[in-house]
C-alpha cells in the first residue's frame, strides 16, 4: 500500500495560501506524478499534501495583453481541444498530445508539469522556447518568474514554500513560428529521450531568422536553452549550410548522459538530426 500522507483540500486560494504559510505542504494537482512519487520508491514521500484540484480560478485558457495565459490546473486534454490554443499556439496542443495517453491527459496539468521540474518534462522545452512567464502567488504578493530562471537545478523550481504556481503566460509576438518534437520509445506513454522546442521570428519567405530560441529536454539536469546553436541560427536563413552548422554545433554543445531510457550518444545524435530536419522542413529543400 502506498504512503498516505495527510491531505487538505482547500476550496479557495486564500485558504490554500494560509495552509502553505502555516506549514510546508506538497501541492497536488492532477496527481499523475505525485501519486507515483508517494509510493516511496522515489525518495521520501511528502509529509503533508495540499490538494489544489478544487481551486477553479487556476483553470482556463485565454488571450490577454498579447499573451496566451493558461491556468496552472489546465489539463493536457483541455489544451488539446482548446480552439484558442489551436489559433494562437498550435505547437502547445501538439506537445500536449504527446504526453501519456487519454488517462494521463485527462488529469495531468501544465502547471504540474512545470512544478514537477523533471528534466524530461514534455511541455517544458516549449515553455522555455516561447519565453514563458510563470505567475506565482502567496498570501502577500504575486510575482512573475521568467522561464530561464524557473528551473535553477535538477528537479528544483523558483517556487517558494509559501507560493503556488497560478498560471503560465506565453507572449505572442508577431510573425513568430514555433515547432515541437518529442522522441520516445513509442508514441504514447513514453518518457522522452529527447524533446525539442524551437521558436523564431521571420518575415514571409526565405528571410533571416531572428530571436531564435532553441530549448531541449532530457539532455541535461534541467530543461536547457542551447545558446551556441541559437547563435548559429540567429540572422541565418534555413538553408542546408545553416542546418549542417546548427546540427554540428548542437551535437557539440549538449552533454547528455546515459540512463535507463537512452544513451548519451543516441541523444546527441538524435537531437542534432531532429534539429537538422526541422530546419530542412522550413527551408523546403
Amino acid at each position: 500500500m502506498p504512503h498516505e500522507p495527510p491531505v487538505v483540500s482547500p476550496r479557495t486560494l486564500p485558504e490554500a495560501y494560509a495552509l502553505l504559510a502555516a506549514a510546508p505542504h506538497r501541492p497536488l494537482a492532477g496527481g499523475t506524478d505525485l501519486l507515483v512519487q508517494i509510493s516511496g520508491e522515489l525518495g521520501e514521500p511528502p509529509e503533508r499534501v495540499l490538494d489544489i484540484w478544487h481551486l477553479d480560478e487556476l483553470r482556463g485558457i485565454r488571450v490577454e495583453s498579447n499573451a496566451l495565459v493558461i491556468g496552472a490546473l489546465t489539463t493536457y486534454a483541455e489544451i488539446r481541444r482548446s480552439p484558442v490554443v489551436a489559433e494562437f499556439l498550435p505547437a502547445l496542443a501538439e506537445a500536449a498530445a504527446t504526453i501519456g495517453a487519454a488517462q494521463i491527459q485527462n488529469r495531468g496539468t501544465i502547471g504540474g508539469n512545470a512544478a514537477n521540474a523533471s528534466p524530461a518534462g514534455d511541455m517544458l522545452p516549449l515553455l522555455l522556447a516561447c519565453d514563458a512567464q510563470f505567475v506565482l502567488g502567496s498570501a502577500h504578493r504575486q510575482r512573475w518568474v521568467a522561464a530561464r530562471e524557473f528551473w535553477p537545478a535538477y528537479r528544483r523550481t523558483a517556487i517558494a514554500g509559501d507560493e503556488l504556481l497560478l498560471r503560465i503566460s506565453l507572449p505572442l509576438p508577431s510573425r513568430r513560428q514555433v515547432r515541437y518534437r518529442k522522441v520516445g520509445t513509442r508514441r504514447a506513454q513514453a518518457i522522452s529521450k529527447v524533446v525539442i522546442g524551437l521558436a523564431w521570428r521571420a518575415e514571409e519567405g526565405a528571410t533571416p531568422w531572428r530571436e531564435v530560441r532553441l530549448a531541449l529536454g532530457s539532455v541535461a539536469a534541467t530543461t536547457i536553452r542551447a545558446p551556441r546553436t541559437e547563435a548559429v541560427l540567429e540572422g541565418s536563413t534555413p538553408d542546408e549550410a545553416t542546418a549542417d552548422r546548427a546540427a554540428a554545433t548542437l551535437a557539440d554543445e549538449i552533454k547528455p548522459i546515459d540512463d535507463v531510457r537512452s544513451t548519451a550518444d543516441y541523444r546527441r545524435a538524435v537531437a542534432s538530426r531532429v534539429l537538422h530536419r526541422l530546419i530542412r522542413d522550413e527551408g523546403g529543400w
Binding site: 502506498p2 491531505v7 499523475t32 490538494d51 487519454a102
Partner: protein, 158 residues
C-alpha cells in the same frame, strides 16, 4: 475523512484517508474488484475507470479528488443484461484473453465511443494507447471496439 460520490449510479460514502487511491477504495471498501491493479503507476491502464465521464487511471486519483464526482466502473457497463454491446463485441472478436487488461480496456473504449468521435483504426488505437495488453496483439480489441461503434451508430440512425 468522509467522502461521498456516486458509483455506477449508486451514492456511496467512505471513511478513508484522503490520499487513499480510488483504485483501493473501489476494490477494498466497495468490493468492486472488476477494476484491476497492474503497474500502480499510470503506465498500463488496467485500473481505468470513468470519472465524471472521462477515462482516468484509478491508481493515480486520490479519493479526496473524487468527492462529489460520478464514477463508472466495468461493473456499471451492463445494466439490464449480463453484458453490454461493447463487452459482447470483445467476446465475439476474441478481444479478451487472460482478462487482466479487459476491464480497463473496456472503460477506455467506452469513453471513446461515448465521445462520439469518428470510428477509425487510428483513432481507436489512440483511444486505447494508455492500456497495455500482453495477449491479443491489440488487433482483436480494435476490431471489437470498431464493431461496437458501428452497431451503436447503426442503432442510433434507425
Amino acid at each position: 475523512m468522509s467522502y461521498r460520490f456516486v458509483v455506477n449510479g449508486e451514492p456511496v460514502a467512505v471513511e478513508v484517508p484522503g490520499m487513499r487511491r480510488l483504485l483501493d477504495v473501489l476494490r477494498e471498501e466497495l468490493h468492486l474488484t472488476g477494476t484491476k491493479e497492474g503497474c500502480g503507476e499510470g503506465e498500463c491502464g488496467a485500473c481505468s475507470v470513468l470519472l465524471d465521464g472521462v477515462v482516468v487511471d484509478s491508481c493515480l486519483v486520490p479519493i479526496c479528488q473524487v468527492d462529489g464526482t460520478v464514477v463508472q466502473t466495468v461493473e456499471g457497463l451492463a445494466r439490464d443484461a449480463p453484458l453490454n454491446d461493447l463487452q459482447s463485441a470483445f467476446l465475439e472478436t476474441g478481444g479478451a484473453q487472460c482478462g487482466i487488461c479487459t476491464p480497463g480496456m473496456l472503460m477506455a473504449a467506452e469513453a471513446y465511443l461515448v465521445a462520439g468521435s469518428p470510428i477509425s483504426d487510428g483513432a481507436i488505437r489512440e483511444a486505447i494507447a494508455g492500456n497495455l495488453c500482453r495477449c491479443t496483439g491489440y488487433t482483436k480489441i480494435v476490431e471489437a471496439i470498431a464493431l461496437a461503434g458501428e452497431r451503436r451508430r447503426r442503432d442510433a440512425s434507425v
